[in-house]
Symmetry: C2
Subunit: 225 residues, 2 copies
């Protein structure tokens, strides 16, 4: 995947410069106010070089996104290894909100690209989704979380959180969403009197499929161009 070619020394330097500048611009939230050509100049390369390395904005975004995702996945794994499942999940989600809050511009940029043509980005977020799915699955396994709701729903909620980044009371609302999700995930059968004593077993056989299904019959992917 990354080992396509050796890539010459100077090329690597340019590529790095591009990525560094991209991260910077993303974080400042200026990505879309900038002509792509100007971005090249800003990073100190010619337009040709920019296009050689990253044929589209999306390609560039994906590359930046990769680092993000890797860090988050690490964190997820680490939490999962050191905390009880439910707590690991909760901590991860709350941390996610904090992370997004700390990188406002980046989050907004990614959300935009996500909505636009998710192709590249969706690919990149696969790993993140897997991490979340693992956290959820672990919590389901130890009975602290219901098993009739997939991890996909959690991803959707996260999606909403980062997509709605410019709402006035964002931070508080985002925390609320996480609260709702976590409370909603708790105990398997919320519907009725689950009063004091009786709550039935959670790790039922009904095992929901928590992982992603491999490319099913291509949904209606619209061809951008």
């Amino acid at each position: 995947m990354t080992a396509d070619k050796p890539l010459r020394a100077d090329a690597q330097r340019k590529r790095q410069a591009l990525l560094a500048k991209a991260r910077e611009v993303f974080d400042a939230g200026d990505f879309f106010d900038l002509r792509f050509d100007d971005f090249a100049r800003l990073a100190g390369v010619g337009t040709g070089t920019l296009y050689r390395h990253f044929p589209t904005r999306e390609a560039l975004a994906e590359a930046v996104y990769h680092g993000e995702v890797a860090a988050l996945c690490d964190r997820a794994r680490q939490l999962q290894a050191t905390l009880p499942a439910a707590e690991a999940l909760a901590t991860f989600l709350r941390g996610m909100v904090a992370h997004i809050a700390a990188h406002e511009g980046l989050a907004r940029t990614l959300a935009t690209l996500m909505a636009d043509r998710s192709s590249a980005l969706a690919e990149g977020s696969r790993a993140l989704e897997q991490a979340v799915a693992d956290l959820v699955a672990a919590a389901v396994r130890d009975g602290t979380v219901r098993d009739d709701v997939g991890a996909g729903a959690v991803m959707m909620a996260l999606h909403g959180i980062s997509a709605a980044h410019d709402r006035p009371g964002w931070r508080a609302e985002a925390d609320d969403v996480i609260t709702l999700v976590l409370d909603g995930l708790r105990r398997p059968r919320p519907s009725v009197r689950l009063a004091e004593g009786e709550v039935h077993e959670v790790r039922t056989a009904a095992r929901h499929q928590v992982r992603d299904q491999p490319a099913q019959a291509q949904p209606q992917r619209r061809r951008p161009l």
Copy 2:
């Protein structure tokens, strides 16, 4: 608001044609594959006229969106008048998912525009938000829903649902999100000691402050331009 000016008769006709065609194109999901100029031709007007009525894609989208929102608000009011608060809320949210599912292209278009520059769209969705807030408030008032989580969180979740429209298992996941939200909203105190003997309390709400935020671990500073 709408009564800015009388607007000449033929102008009104053109405007209507534009809106009608826009709704059509939106719903087909072709909005972004189409040159804006071509859209004008498609609707049977000149480009100048198109730009006069709707200076940007966003402006056009907002106009279309308005109808959508109005319909949804009506529905909300109607439900609120005829059902117990909690049920009205649940029905509305489930209906919302169904609605989005039924208008795939439109939802996708709006989600994209939403993420891009929410200014115009956010304005338009104010009314929808108010409707949701009313539903939630009513449910809070009659005690079926917790009062420590705002309606904004619900909006965010809805946002996520429509933003993530191209996920493979969208419908199921969207329903799951609603389930989580509704269950999460139920009963103000989720501190239940639920079953199994041991339950590490997961507690509620935002009292959690994630530590170790690599807030400015970023090596490069921002420099907008």
